[in-house]
Point group: C2
Chain length 926, copies 2
């Protein structure tokens, strides 16, 4: 009746899936099948597809299996029994299985694993018979109760942990492995009664029931809060569910010739081409990942089991050459024999990503395009994240050293719970989260911390993996620390760090410092800024190579938003091809300039009102007389600003050395330049020697209900044209001076907030008149300076009416921040009240201020591009909103044919990379 | 070389123009040509085209004549000399001409007329010789100096007036006509020296110079402040300039058998089909219009010159039958012979327009479509303007009676200058402008007044014409009043009215009252509301007929914006076909409801925060416990509102009697419901027995920087869904109750401020769930009530993404107020700072909040309609912003295929008319 295939077998020649089926079988399932096909030693099993999980939620009553699923699982169990010659949870040679979740994208927040499934009184007896190892069987069973009880039935971890701890204390031993067979027998009984007490039923003995409940739990875990938050934080969308892998058990805890481990084909922290990883003998997989015992580095495995080590080394090569990417491999050794339990693309820091990508091109494994696509553009900025200052470190107080689990440096206040991390950070403090070990519940607290320290766990512990993913520095397994989250402190020998004390960590070296250590720009930044030698940094060299490749493939230009010489210089060093947005108002806030500017504002309103009366009057002579005095003050204040602005532009034009510079004329409403509080007004009155009432009156007059939609942008220029005149004059005079001194210039004058073509027509005419006047004054030909006059498209009306606006514009630059506010109808300052809910409800997949809302705001941009080009095919079009530095948005801007993006200086490399990736993707589609 | 024809002759068979050439020859010029062609007695002349005026501004240096113009004028002068056998300003029979401006649209604000041009020493002598009337010649010359000096050279009127007044005082006479020949001789000398003094040159004697300067002055007058303001106030756009008419002089002031007059083919005040007008014997044209002497009613002309009167009567018929509309005719009688100087479509009050249009259909002069098109939709609302209350009038103190120059009633504070009118009215006072006579300089003051009183001038005086145009009540020529604008009072016998005293006027009867008289709704309104008998009102009957015709032709539905039973009733009486916008929040402000609503707000934030924490937490049980108390308070406050809202809807649904009712769910941000000032907060705290700090905290928390773009509309419904739930429940319970009682209902639930399809999807699902729940509770079938669920399109993003939004909407209703704010990026509350400048600069031709900005906001509406219909062809689409009552906007909405408009109750008739006109225009185009 039901023909949907839900279950896929893997094992020998009967393997049904392959690596291409990640969506259907999850990453783990697809790769288990693939490795089996490659002839690698994978324990057989089967994978229940993600469609089954989706069916669990959508078919009929939510929470029941889709038709046919149970039948198919039962069939595959029989096939598995045939393949292994064992009987599931019974008989003389009982078959035990593991159950593991596995979505198309790895999700640590989800239910992970139940091992040893199939154990009960009968199968335990049989296995004891076979192995002659009652201790092993008891240990396996107590682990099974614990895992099943916790992950399937939701019994808190600590219920079991406390029982173990009590037992260990009473026996005066440290390690689980020191527990005797008798101890374990008691523990198993205790675990059973904990289970019975918590659940109200005895632990299930029927292996089918054990399996069914476990599969249900995996299905359910897909939608638990943790998993949903993980997907949200990591922006994972479009998946239909998780797959479930049921696989024959192999045991790493069958004694000292057994073991388990995790390894990477290259170093995931720095990308070095060495075999990297760690293992524990006589342990099951979760012992490595959970960070309870600190594991051994992989090279020492050669001493323990040389054959297995050599086999692993050759598997390393096979897998890299097959997958053409760095792999993360899980293995188990059962009584000396090696089994592979998982391979997947290894997560890596962006530092490692850069080095691995460039290395692999050199090794002829991949091509340049693939290398570029391998770099996560959204994390690329971590390359420029702060590190601990070398000199400051020399004088600092080294507390201890742990594993260098995630690169970068950080200094902040120690906190000991995730909640405290969130609370302190919400008060604006930099915090370092210090934990014994972290767990998925800590994700929120980790994401707001500047760095993570753990006392337990290795390079693949939860803390290490998550920190690398988030680009946070992390020192893991600093075992000399005793972290106490209850009394909120940590102790290292005689030293005690309390909540709120300053600590620092170096994720490159694993060092932890007591007290303040300065942080400084990253390696790449130091070199970019000429403070270190590039040849000493493999990372910098590879980064440069990668950036060259990016420039080779990208079509979009990359400019920067900058208004200081320093920022301009930084951006140019980072490869910016010009300034896409120079906000002139920032220049008015500097130093004494604000005084002249405020003087201008105080009299501007008076001038405006008189002019309106003159325009409306037939007899203007007396009014014109009345205007004389305020107009003189007004012009005087403006004139004071001219040389200052001119000086700014001269410096910036010099720094740009002929690159284009888009200067935006005054944009914010005038009230932003006046103090709002009475204290500030009093000071201003004193400083400027005007009565405070005058200031208050002006502030009141300029008050706006919705400043976002107020008297700003070109509206200012049209009402107070002398201010724009001065700015245009400053730009042109600066350009002339720089050009005369032998440096090329390319000024682009941008008129902001245009909504109607006539606004631009009038403004442009005025700008043009000033330019002409300046050139005539200086006795220069009209073409002495090549310049452009254009506008920002940031009002929805402008996007709609772009064809007519283009008539008066040499260029468009999209101000997507304001365009988003007006198009979506929410103010950035106020949207906090509901935007969180909105992302949670899936109304916007992402904050539309971070990544452009393609279907709405993006569509407006697209319309404007189409209309603008229709009217003027050679019009230059760029974007200068913050989206200009966001990789997803850049992909969109590339797809609709913009000429360039402009972003903050530090995002220039990201933009170059993202632009290349976008271009490569489009080329691949063609 | 230059082949443009600028000058067009009229006279006998040589007439070059005709009535179709209004754009080119102006209204006056085209009609002079047309009347000549009809064989009517028109003095010959020529018309200089509007293209010449345009050339004056645009060709070469602004302010010089375009090539060929002078040559053509000289040729036509020669032709005129040939036709008349006279010589221009010289010879034995000198030819004198008039120069009159005349644009395609009549513009009283422009330079009007220079008469008697061609007079100088020589021609005066010659004419004295011919006429034997030296007094006439001297009077003509002093008028010429005065007019030329004033309108061509800009010498203030009073310079000359004072000289006349001095002369009259010294001679102890009242009227100009009583001045003797010798007096005039002295006056001419005095005028000449005034001219010489003011201009610094003697008065020009060369008739060509006189003509050239006069033509220049007409060209210049096109762009003077008055003319520009007139065009702006009257929304006249798209004209290129004025024409200039040069015409042989005929003299109404050649003695007692000469005269001049103005008449209308029907009564322009009430539309009665009687010959109507006035004349003055021994006077020139401006004497009638200027209102200096009060003229005689036209029927008395029969006694003075029966032949001329009979000729005029027959011309009345000829012109009406030719032009098929009421005409406004200027004539002059020169020594008993009648000449026509102008005919044009007569301006009329909207009362007259309604009566004339319906009458003319009955008389088979025009068809119904033409009748409908003749009614100025923008002025239609004057039909419902207030009138003086009859009973209040009986007890009021009648001051005097003047001419009933413009209908309507008004009461307000007397002011005596236009400036004072503007000032008092800016303080919120109703003012009545009282003047001796008004002039174009008074336009601003007139437009802010509630009514106009003048002591001089007739039905065609400036005051009367402008007041009728503005729809203001006016009593003109109340000659017993002495108005003194210097000491700011007016005297009537013993009574004195000072500035600020209350006066009232009745424009239907010409009565002026001292003190307060109540104003009441208009005739039509009284009848519409059942307070008077319709059969007693010709106006009401004609209005009803017209409205029936409108309904016959219109395609757009007309609904109303209403939230009270009273407004709903009014709107239905006015022909509304349902409610297009019922704003539920207004209901929360009424009476005690605000208390419950505020109670809800105070606790809502607490509930919201706890819910967010629950959503983000794994362990929710303690938080859920914490939520219990506030949630109970919250739900209790909401429940208190349910019966009140239900009661509102029951009443409205009953009143609508089956017509559709679009109910908008809560829209404004919550802070609008809380007092912002500490006094109000204190009162609220006392009343609600909560600490004031709690109120302050909530106000602070809810504060928004840009409330327009804040937490409102569906964003509220998504965050505080229980409030919308209650509203939906109230709507459905009310609908069920009304329907069960036998009255049909059609509720339409409208979700506001949707920007993203998913917002509507979620909101709609919730609304649907509540509806289902209510029906199930009541044990009713799902189809018991037919209802619709839809959304407002008011966020630009929604317009762009309308196809996807339409999936979840049964209807769209455009909220064009907010759409304009967001699309144009200006807040209605703040735009005052620049919108005036913008309209002045021609950036927007009209305030885009009054008339929809077709190219921007309109285009967004159009896109949304296209996209919405593409996704759902049968979706209902209307508009409920204020543009729904604006005729121009209605024309646009009709053109893009909306289903209906919704407007305030009083605009329903306008909307019906405008919708019919729009439909007729489209049908005519096809």
């Amino acid at each position: 009746m039901n023909s949907v295939k839900y279950v896929y077998f893997f094992g020998g020649d009967e393997t049904e899936g392959d690596r291409s089926q990640k969506e259907l079988l999850g990453g783990k399932g697809a790769n288990l099948a693939e490795m089996t096909r490659l002839g690698l030693p994978v324990p057989p099993g089967f994978t229940i597809s993600t469609e089954a999980c989706s069916g669990y939620y959508n078919v009929g009553d939510a929470g029941s299996w889709p038709d046919g699923l149970e039948q198919q699982i039962r069939e595959k169990l029989i096939q598995l029994e045939k393949t292994t010659g064992k009987k599931f949870g019974s008989g003389k040679d009982p078959m035990l299985v593991s159950v593991r979740s596995g979505a198309a994208v790895s999700m640590p927040g989800m239910m992970d694993t139940v091992l040893n499934l199939g154990l009960n009184k009968d199968s335990m007896d049989a296995i004891t018979q076979i192995t002659g190892n009652p201790r092993f069987v008891l240990d396996a069973y107590r682990r099974f109760i614990q895992m099943f009880g916790n992950v399937v039935m939701g019994i808190p971890h600590h219920a079991f942990e406390e029982a173990i701890d009590r037992m260990k204390t009473s026996r005066n031993i440290d390690l689980d492995t020191d527990l005797s067979t008798d101890d374990l027998k008691i523990l198993v009984d205790e675990f059973s009664s904990i289970y019975n007490k918590e659940i109200g039923k005895p632990f299930p003995v029927d292996p089918w029931i054990q399996l069914k409940l476990s599969i249900d739990a995996v299905f359910r875990s897909w939608n638990n809060t943790r998993a949903r938050r993980y997907r949200q934080i990591n922006e994972i969308t479009g998946l239909i569910g998780t797959a479930v892998n049921v696989q024959i058990m192999v045991f790493g805890n069958m004694g000292e010739d057994s073991g388990t481990g995790v390894c990477f084909t290259r170093n995931p922290a720095n990308g070095e081409n060495v075999f990297y990883g760690e293992y524990l003998m006589n342990a099951q997989g979760e012992d490595v990942v959970a960070g309870i015992r600190t594991p051994e580095p992989i090279p020492t495995l050669r001493n323990v089991n040389e054959a297995a080590y050599e086999e692993l080394l050759s598997i390393r090569t096979v897998l890299e050459e097959h997958y053409l990417d760095m792999q993360d491999i899980e293995f188990t050794i059962e009584e000396k024999k090696l089994y592979l339990l998982q391979t997947r693309t290894g997560k890596r820091t962006v530092f490692a990503a850069v080095n691995i990508a460039v290395d692999m091109v050199k090794e002829n494994l991949i091509d340049k395009k693939t290398a570029l696509k391998r770099i996560p553009a959204s994390a690329f900025n971590q390359l420029f994240a702060p590190v601990l200052d070398r000199k400051s470190k020399e004088h600092a107080d080294l507390l201890t050293t742990g594993l260098n689990a995630s690169p970068g440096g950080a200094c902040g206040r120690a906190v000991f719970t995730a909640e405290d991390a969130e609370e302190w950070s919400s008060r604006g403090e930099d915090v370092i989260l210090c934990r014994k070990e972290t767990s998925p519940e800590d994700i929120g607290g980790m994401s707001v911390s500047k760095g993570i320290i753990t006392s337990r766990g290795g390079m693949t512990s939860h803390a290490a993996v998550v920190a690398r993913g988030m680009g946070l520095p992390c020192v893991a397994g600093a075992s000399s620390l005793i972290v106490d989250s209850v009394s909120k402190k940590m102790v290292c020998g005689e030293k005690e760090i309390a909540e709120g004390d300053l600590v620092a960590l170096d994720g490159f070296t694993g060092e932890i410092y007591d007290g303040k250590v300065d942080v400084q720009p990253s390696e790449i930044l130091c070199i970019s800024m000429g403070e270190s030698d590039p040849n000493e940094s493999r990372l910098y060299l590879n980064y440069s190579i990668l950036m060259d490749w990016a420039d080779e493939y990208r079509r979009l230009g990359v400019r920067t938003n900058a208004e200081t010489v320093k920022d301009t210089g930084t951006a140019v060093d980072f490869g910016a091809e010009g300034i896409g947005l120079c906000r002139t108002e920032h220049m008015f806030f500097e130093g004494d300039r604000i005084v002249s500017f405020r003087k201008m504002i105080l009299v501007a309103e008076e001038v405006k009102i008189l002019r309106e009366r003159i325009a409306a009057s037939d007899d203007t002579s007396s009014l014109e007389k009345e205007l004389e005095a305020p107009l003189a003050d007004y012009n005087e204040a403006i004139e004071e600003l001219l040389p200052l602005q001119r000086g700014d532009f001269i410096q910036i034009f010099r720094e740009l050395d002929g690159r284009p510079c888009t200067v935006r004329l005054l944009d914010p409403p005038l009230h932003e330049f006046l103090p709002n509080d009475s204290q500030g007004q009093l000071e201003m009155a004193r400083e400027m020697e005007v009565p405070i009432e005058k200031i208050q009156r002006t502030v009141e007059k300029l008050h706006e209900f919705n400043p976002m939609l107020g008297h700003r942008g070109c509206r200012l220029g049209l009402t107070y044209p002398e201010v724009s005149d001065m700015q245009v004059r400053a730009i042109m005079e600066a350009a002339i001076e720089v050009k005369k001194s032998g440096t090329e210039v390319l000024p682009e004058i941008m008129i902001p907030l245009v909504g109607h073509p006539r606004e631009l027509e009038i403004s442009r005419t005025r700008v043009q008149d000033v330019i002409d006047a300046v050139l005539i004054e200086k006795g220069l030909p009209a073409d002495f300076i090549y310049y452009r006059i254009g506008t920002m498209i940031e009002v929805p009306r402008a996007a709609i009416d772009a064809a007519r606006i283009a008539e008066y514009a040499d260029f468009f630059s999209f101000g997507t921040n304001d365009l988003t506010q007006m198009a979506c109808g929410f103010s950035r300052d106020d949207a906090g009240a509901f935007l969180g809910d909105y992302v949670r409800m899936g109304i916007y997949e992402k904050d539309p201020f971070t990544s452009i809302d393609v279907d709405g705001v993006g569509r407006l941009v697209e319309i404007a591009v189409e209309e603008g080009r229709k009217a003027k095919p050679d019009i230059k079009i760029g974007v200068c909103g913050e989206h200009g530095g966001d990789p997803e948005s850049i992909r969109f801007f590339n797809s609709i044919g913009l000429d360039y993006v402009s972003c903050s200086p530090f995002r220039v490399p990201v933009a170059r990379l993202a632009a290349a990736q976008a271009a490569i993707d489009i080329a691949t589609q063609d």
